[in-house]
């Protein structure tokens, strides 16, 4: 491969269904590895920079859903290319000025190792800051969902929480969740995969059969 081709080769990023690449990093809670979270779910999220307005509102919002996430067995781990001391100063400032104590760790990713490994740098958006990426990683360290937002738009925590609830519900009951699903709503029963099963589905009485390929049930 020529040097030009190597230079132009985009950095690969993990995809949904793949094992999340392990890393060891300095964080505000000491040195952590991604594999330390095995056995619990994890939201690994990046933010562009400390002491910036949108990121500050997002951190407060992440902290606000953290108790609910913990009840669901989900941890939070933030990442940005700022230094450890910047992270400490910023979280102290958030507590002092906005009255919110940030309880989850933040990776000081000065060498951009984590950001590059997870494809959090979008050069067309910014060459040295991570975009607003969210990686939902399950208890087996498999990436289950990825959300990307640009620098200008803060993330929606309702959706982050809803997505976790949808994934966990799908796992627990072997179902799928429809658009705008919320906990308590009907879920989608797996579509039959043979003509015979499709015929049988049309005769089922204990679920809501809209058609053979779209059936719902309450759980």
């Amino acid at each position: 491969m020529s040097e030009l081709m190597i230079a132009n080769t985009p950095h690969s990023m993990p995809r949904i269904g793949e094992k999340a690449p392990d890393f060891e990093a300095v964080t505000t809670h000491g040195t952590l590895r991604l594999s330390d979270y095995a056995g619990s779910w994890l939201i690994l999220f990046s933010h562009p920079a400390d002491f910036t307005p949108v990121c500050t509102t997002e951190f407060i919002a992440f902290q606000e859903i953290y108790p609910e996430l913990k009840k669901l067995g989900v941890e939070l781990l933030g990442v940005s290319v700022d230094s450890l001391y910047s992270h400490i100063a910023w979280t102290r400032n958030i507590e002092e000025k906005m009255g919110v104590k940030i309880e989850f760790p933040i990776v000081a990713d000065l060498d951009m190792n984590v950001a590059k490994t997870f494809g959090m740098i979008m050069p067309e958006e910014h060459s040295t800051e991570a975009v607003r990426a969210v990686f939902i990683i399950d208890d087996k360290q498999v990436i289950r969902a990825i959300i990307y937002y640009p620098l200008s738009a803060g993330r929606n925590m309702d959706e982050v929480l809803r997505l976790i609830q949808a994934l966990k519900t799908a796992d627990a009951h072997h179902v799928a969740t429809p658009a705008n699903w919320r906990p308590g709503d009907a879920v989608i029963v797996p579509t039959p995969s043979t003509v015979e099963a499709a015929e049988a589905r049309m005769k089922e009485k204990d679920i809501e059969v809209i058609d053979w390929y779209l059936s719902k049930k309450k759980i």
Partner: protein
């Protein structure tokens, strides 16, 4: 500096609690996290640092205190 040891050379509170829990009988990280009501990732990170510092060792039955770990605990009690 390792987080399991303070800048004065004393064991951190977390390290002390972990050593106390495993000084008689080895325990796995999962059980220690439950007993301390601390997230598992924090216990794993602490045990790794304590392993690197030679205070504990991972065995088939779980983490147990080394001679160095017992000595460090003893110094705290003196």
């Amino acid at each position: 500096m390792v987080a399991c040891v303070t800048d004065r050379g004393n064991l951190s509170e977390q390290a002390k609690k972990l050593l106390e829990l495993i000084k008689i009988q080895p325990k796995p990280a999962e059980q220690l996290a439950q007993l301390l009501d601390v997230p598992l990732f924090k216990v794993r990170a602490s045990l790794r640092e304590m392993t690197d510092a030679g205070l504990v060792v991972d065995t088939v039955e779980g983490y147990t205190v080394t001679e160095k770990g017992h000595e460090a605990l003893q110094r705290q009690d003196d």
